[in-house]
Assembly symmetry: C2
Homo-oligomer: 231 residues x 2
């Protein structure tokens, strides 16, 4: 039996609580980060709070092994005086949407091997995709996630804006978006590339720019240049 104490009441903490509660071999308790007076002992204490209060919250916890769940905070930003680790799940969590933990990559790190193995057992109790990722790798992974999630989503927004302005339903683009995602399951993104930029089709590029507003043109130009430069 592994005992887990979850600190935090946000999306990540609450989804984790539900998963651990159902898992075999795990006993779990969840508390608010504002009520740290009587923290119960646990094999693993998971702090799932905003990045900017991880240091402060961890400094108040006396338990033997304390981990956080952040993609952009170093292991050494934990300020407890005991063992440290990271239990980072690379996914966007929404409040009302059930989470399929078997689909989520667990990125684990710990100050020593024994604690690492404990985190691994914990991750395996609810998931299957387990990766050893150190603090430097995790930071770059977090940037990569911004590109493939936040920025990609913003391109969808621009596509939606262009459709709306021209009285075209956005749903018409959904099959293409789906294929864009499916294609990189079997091809590298580099090999999957098509379109006027990679073909260096100057005429189409010029026609496209004429249809866009200034902000959209700036993005179109910079991404076209980047595709053509191969960087």
């Amino acid at each position: 039996m592994i005992s887990v104490l979850l600190v935090g009441k946000g999306n990540v903490a609450t989804h984790l609580y539900t998963a651990f509660f159902k898992a075999d071999g795990i006993s779990v308790k969840q508390i608010s980060s504002r009520k740290l007076e009587n923290v119960t002992p646990a094999d693993v204490t998971i702090i799932a709070v905003s990045d900017d209060v991880i240091a402060e919250v961890s400094s108040k916890i006396k338990n033997t092994f304390v981990v956080h769940t952040s993609g952009s905070v170093s292991l050494n930003d934990l300020k407890n005086n005991s063992n440290k680790g990271v239990f980072y799940m690379l996914q966007t969590f929404s409040k009302d949407k059930e989470v399929d933990f078997s689909e989520i990559p667990f990125c684990l790190e710990a100050t020593n091997e024994k604690e690492y193995q404990l985190l691994e057992r914990l991750a395996k109790s609810i998931g299957i995709k387990i990766y050893t990722i150190n603090s430097e790798q995790r930071k770059t992974l977090h940037v990569a996630a911004v590109f493939v999630n936040n920025f990609t989503n913003h391109l969808f927004k621009i596509g939606n804006d262009i459709c709306k302005e021209n009285y075209i339903p956005f749903e018409i683009l959904q099959p293409l978006i789906k294929e864009t995602f499916l294609k990189i399951q079997s091809l590298s993104p580099e090999k999957a590339q098509t379109g006027p930029a990679i073909r260096k089709d100057k005429k189409t590029i010029k026609n496209h720019l004429n249809l866009l507003n200034t902000g959209q043109q700036e993005i179109y130009n910079i991404l076209t240049k980047s595709i053509q430069n191969g960087n």
Copy 2:
């Protein structure tokens, strides 16, 4: 029975030929655009060739109704002396991958109602998603497609590059990419947005920029600004 003559031997022409060949009520023939000496008559002649030769090829065809399949070429760029139309399928076609036409949006346009109805019957013989899209709308749809397909794919490439440089397998980002795509099935891209840009989290943005090369920084800055400006 509708008789169809396909002009062209590329991906689009070949996938269309296969689909029409299997469909009920369609008789289909495919010829190369280089052999236009003996063009047989047909109810619909579909020119599926490169954008830059559509005008030339169409000028040589005497059939009663000639359409092209391009997203970025106007109906009036067809130079046949008879009826004109457009039969544009909004999807990327790969040579070796079977096409599910029931998933593909057909964007139709014709100079008059009778020909439009003929195109609609033709599209319905192999597909189910049929849209009336005029030349202006189709051009903007084509730009929108560049944003959600080519540019999105390039962001995946950058994510892949960042992973490679840091010895992280790209597969670790795939579930997040999948969720990014699934989220906009039920939420508008604007509402689906998360991350440091929309949160105006200056500290994380600064840390991210420090991890990127010059080209990546330029893209990061411009997309962050665009997310924050809501444009």
